[in-house]
Symmetry: C2
Subunit: 248 residues, 2 copies
DNA sequence: GAATGAAATTGATCCAGATCAAGAATACCG
DNA sequence: CGGTATTCTTGATCTGGATCAATTTCATTC
């Protein structure tokens, strides 16, 4: 998922309208580009930052995808989310200047580092940038809320369907197909994100496959019936949807 | 939980160091106080705003407590969190100017309304205020992450213990006792917040009572052994802690 | 292309917490 | 104060997803 060549600056970046500069005037974008430093290329499995690290920057995803997670005292992990191009990582460190989670590259990826001190200064000069920061933070909060609802109230099937639809929407927004994509994360990370075990993830994917709603081969996903997937999310269980008609 | 008389302005409010003005100079606090409007008194069960409402303000809790929740299509609710004095409600509406959740008073409470347009203006004039906003937003994100971890990975007992400790910490921070307090929410809201049923909440509380860790009578909670409660959260199940020694 | 190891699938069993079903305690109100 | 409606507790049973246990599939390396 490489969207832009490495040295592109914000004004020429394809992600300009999906990222921090959204809504800014061209000269404001140039100002912002001036404070962005250290574009960094990360190979798969490399950590961007670790839980507890001092963290005085935000990181925008330029290409690739990332996984953010919390390590518990008992050695287990909880995946908090996945990040795709145009999204801002490290927002939780705004609280104390220290990250409360770790972030790792799922595939080769590039990030743009935005030092917080410079960003704060620029926010006072460019009101639109401050508004956009608030929008991004509000969005992060709203999406965390969605995750809380998902983990608090849903069956395994609904969690799986919600996950696939979330990927579909985000890939679509980036200009990729919203019905055929490649999972950049392993089953264990999906399981971990959805509060399930890998066995359950595997079984749910298999069942969606048997019902013809998706076709899945390892990491390759093809969504055959987006509406049915949405129906699973809106109602509760897929069985109900099929009541009275034979499957497969 | 009435901390301050109704008409107190920010500079004289007891919550000044727990709320939005934290870290500001006295004249900056006065500037902030000038944009705060419509202190509103809400009786129990009254809604501050509804899911989907246009929402161009943030609301600081001055007294009382509030519950924030999302209503699902199937009629179920997910409680996202509880708000106590000094905390800021409505942060998710920063995304689109529309609230993604409903907020309701649990008991008689007072809120201070902070119009977003004025707040944004003031943030460009007072760098400390902008920093504080970022801190508050980062804190909200980090606490949502904690909730995701709790819902994704914990037994009923651990959820219950975590909940009690969270209340203990927050009441303590407000200057109240951190070992004896009154629950302002019903069992159903606790259940709903923790992704459990009321029956499970009731049973877990009863068991903590039998073990002598807490004493609970309806809404009155007395924590007898804070360390043991912490141990339940850090380890996994209380049974392990008691291995080998008779209970009660 | 065979050998090794990691990741994913599939099957069998188990259990924590949900659900169902009474009761008990408390609050509300005329 | 008694009657009614909520809210909470407690007990009995059930079940979705976890756990345990093989396989199978895929990726990597020589």
């Amino acid at each position: 998922m490489k969207l832009a060549p490495a040295r592109t600056l914000c004004p020429d970046c394809r992600l300009v309208d999906l990222c921090l500069p959204y809504g800014l005037h061209i000269d404001e974008v140039k100002q912002l580009a001036r404070i962005v430093k250290n574009k960094r290329l990360l190979p798969p499995e490399e950590y961007l930052y670790l839980q507890g690290d001092e963290c005085r920057s935000l990181y925008a995803v330029k290409s690739g995808s990332f996984r953010c997670f919390i390590s518990n005292a008992d050695g287990t992990e909880q995946t908090l989310g996945f990040y795709f191009p145009g999204e801002l990582m490290g927002l939780d460190s705004l609280q104390h200047g220290r990250s409360t989670c770790s972030t790792v590259a799922l595939e080769t990826g590039m990030v743009c580092e935005v030092p917080l001190s410079r960003l704060n200064e620029l926010c006072t000069e460019i009101p639109g940038l401050q508004i956009q920061m608030m929008r991004i933070l509000g969005k992060e909060i709203a999406s965390d809320h969605d995750q809380i609802v998902l983990l608090g109230h849903s069956t395994a099937k609904k969690r799986m369907a919600t996950f696939l639809l979330m990927l579909s929407r985000r890939y679509g927004a980036l200009g990729f197909s919203n019905t055929a994509f490649n999972l950049s994360m392993r089953r264990v990370h999906i399981a971990n994100f959805l509060g399930l075990t890998i066995e359950t993830v595997s079984r749910q994917l298999a069942e969606l496959g048997k019902q013809g709603i998706i076709t899945i081969k390892q990491r390759d996903v093809q969504i055959n019936d987006l509406d049915l997937l949405k129906a699973i999310v809106e109602h509760c269980s897929a069985q109900q949807l099929y009541a009275g008609q034979p499957l497969s």
